[in-house]
Symmetry: C2
Subunit: 345 residues, 2 copies
DNA sequence: TTCAAGCTGGTAATCGATTACATTCAAGGC
DNA sequence: GCCTTGAATGTAATCGATTACCAGCTTGAA
């Protein structure tokens, strides 16, 4: 069954291809009767327009590119799902690409999307490089970032208000009597992870927490990092009583090895995650965490791209920010009376 | 910065567009010197070919479509990651679409992919309908299914050997002294879920297990289904001592409410999952499950599509099958001495 | 020397839409 | 009744590659 082309349809409807195109796009009025004939022909011949031809001529592809750091981190599938669902509702398809936290893969993914002529690119990753920003600047495709510092350029950005989130978390911990706090960060190679570390330190200070260099452990945004961090924290001579993790995956990893080590959370140590993935509720103890709405993020990103399509330089880059929200479950509790530090000679 | 076209490159290199095209594709030999000139021009002008034009003329899009049931089920992201990584290594981009277990969405997703002119479609879903198969039959695009019964047509299929997996699981349970077994299935609306139910019953019989209608509970392949199933099993007058779940998500949901109900697994009941997602190791008790290699599945699917591109009708549709492998963790244990059935009057 | 074969490279048709511009025809103004 | 105007449709250029076909130049065998 060969694919039909517009000429065939036109002939069948006894009109020109221009007319067929017009009834399809509604770009110009067509007599009701003629339109009906065209539609009938389309129906009968089972015609669907060739998207390559269409894109070639019109310069629009109805494709968005979606770059994410790590599909395996449950945070992303949620975002992907919402993004894709918004897109298909508008007849836009999405090309997906996973970067695995690698700037090189991000860069090559980006280039592929550019070559593919997508109409917009959502960069839901943390490993943004200067080269990438530079490339993007020389290109007219709408782009939206997740959570990159403003420095980068004049791009729309979906911001997560980490400061506010951390503050909420720490106030909760304060109320429970905690004074010392540790942090399991993302990879130090990621600019955004470093930023969050700074924010953490700032907020901790503001809230009157003690922090220490050795309580700042580098993770990897995955389970593994949390596991290793837990092992370290539980063998420290003097450990904090509360830990904030850069995301739920590392918090869950943390809890897992705490369990394995027979250390009880939250009795010995409280831990808080970030994201609120489905598994956080399943793990034992259930994770107290900062919920981050993937729906909101996806929606902001999507609409930024859609609006960006009318690339008027005047449009001030709207930075929509989304607020994390503390969900208190079982991994946080009152600070232990006698901190382990007592053991020190 | 305008995008360059081939003509500009050709002029700069003092050759024709045909020659440029040739050095790019290597479709025909070109003198080393000329090729060098062309490459230089490409470099200097920063030229990249317009993919729409290319696809239009050549009829190949270098795009694969990937349809999955549920990105939020961690099984899929793993598969997606491998698939995408194989694809990009070959210069193929992948359009992603989530069906949410809905045949309608699958169908519309498929149609979008077809209209988009993709070079291959991987259907990693369970909700395949007759309409879909029919549509696919009338089309020349290579397609590969995950795990659909052969009846469907002459398509390549990546099969999971459920029978073997179930057998392995049940032998394990047998050794632990279990005699009664229950099953939490996928949605009854899915043909493939029904099939697996049959396989389960068959294998259970072969292994000498008792089954009952009321021990066959319909789930939804998500956490929720497992939770509900657990609630039911734990309030039954007479419950089995072992449960097989259609996937890890439902098994984890099951364990979660078991914990909430203060029922201990595996002391009171053993549960086995399917897939072996990352979280299965994290949950408490850690889940005994059948590991299913996403890497294998993705690879089989991908290569089926790639080979399918030379659509010789002669190529007998290779059905590659992948074997689940039992991973014993903590959610299975010896059958309780005195089954709850003793409570019956 | 001559001619066929083999390389390289160019010319132009082509893929299937969109769209600028031309045309037709009817209605309405004077 | 004639000319302007505008709405509906058609004609053909166009998007930017690929590729069938052709032309010229070597090379080597007869």
């Amino acid at each position: 069954m060969h694919r039909m082309d517009m000429l065939t349809v036109a002939r069948r409807a006894k009109v020109s291809t221009a007319t067929v195109s017009r009834v399809l796009s509604g770009s110009r009025p067509v007599t009701a009767e003629v339109a009906a004939r065209v539609r009938a022909a389309i129906e009968e011949l089972n015609y669907t327009p060739n998207s390559h031809a269409r894109s070639l001529r019109s310069g629009k592809s109805n494709l968005f590119g979606l770059l994410v750091s790590d599909v395996r981190n449950p945070f992303f599938p949620d975002a992907i799902e919402h993004f894709e669902s918004l897109a298909t509702a508008q007849g836009i398809d999405v090309i997906f690409s996973n970067t695995g936290y690698s700037p090189e893969r991000l860069m090559s993914g980006l280039r592929r999307l550019l070559d593919r002529g997508v109409d917009g690119i959502a960069v839901l990753t943390s490993e943004v490089s200067d080269e990438l920003v530079h490339t993007l600047r020389n290109v007219k495709v709408p782009v939206v970032f997740l959570n990159q510092p403003a420095v980068q350029g004049n791009f729309p950005i979906v911001r997560v208000d980490y400061e506010r989130g951390y503050r909420e978390a720490m106030e909760h911990l304060s109320m429970l009597g905690h004074k010392d706090i540790g942090f399991v960060s993302g990879p130090n190679t990621l600019f955004s992870a470093m930023r969050r570390k700074e924010v953490f330190l700032q907020v901790a200070k503001d809230c009157g927490f003690s922090t220490r260099d050795e309580w700042m452990i580098e993770g990897d945004h995955r389970l593994g990092g949390g596991k290793i961090a837990a092992a370290r924290f539980f063998t420290m001579r003097s450990a904090p009583t509360a830990i904030l993790c850069s995301n739920d995956l590392t918090a869950i990893g943390f809890i897992h090895t705490a369990n394995r080590l027979k250390r009880s959370i939250p009795q010995e140590m409280s831990v808080i995650g970030f994201d609120d993935i489905a598994m956080s509720e399943m793990v034992q103890p259930a994770l107290t965490t900062l919920h981050l709405s993937r729906r909101e993020i996806a929606a902001h990103a999507f609409f930024a791209l859609q609006n960006g399509e009318d690339r008027s330089r005047k449009t001030k880059s709207m930075a929509s920010t989304v607020l994390p929200q503390l969900v208190i479950r079982e991994s946080t509790g009152v600070a232990p009376e006698k901190p382990r530090v007592a053991k020190e000679r």
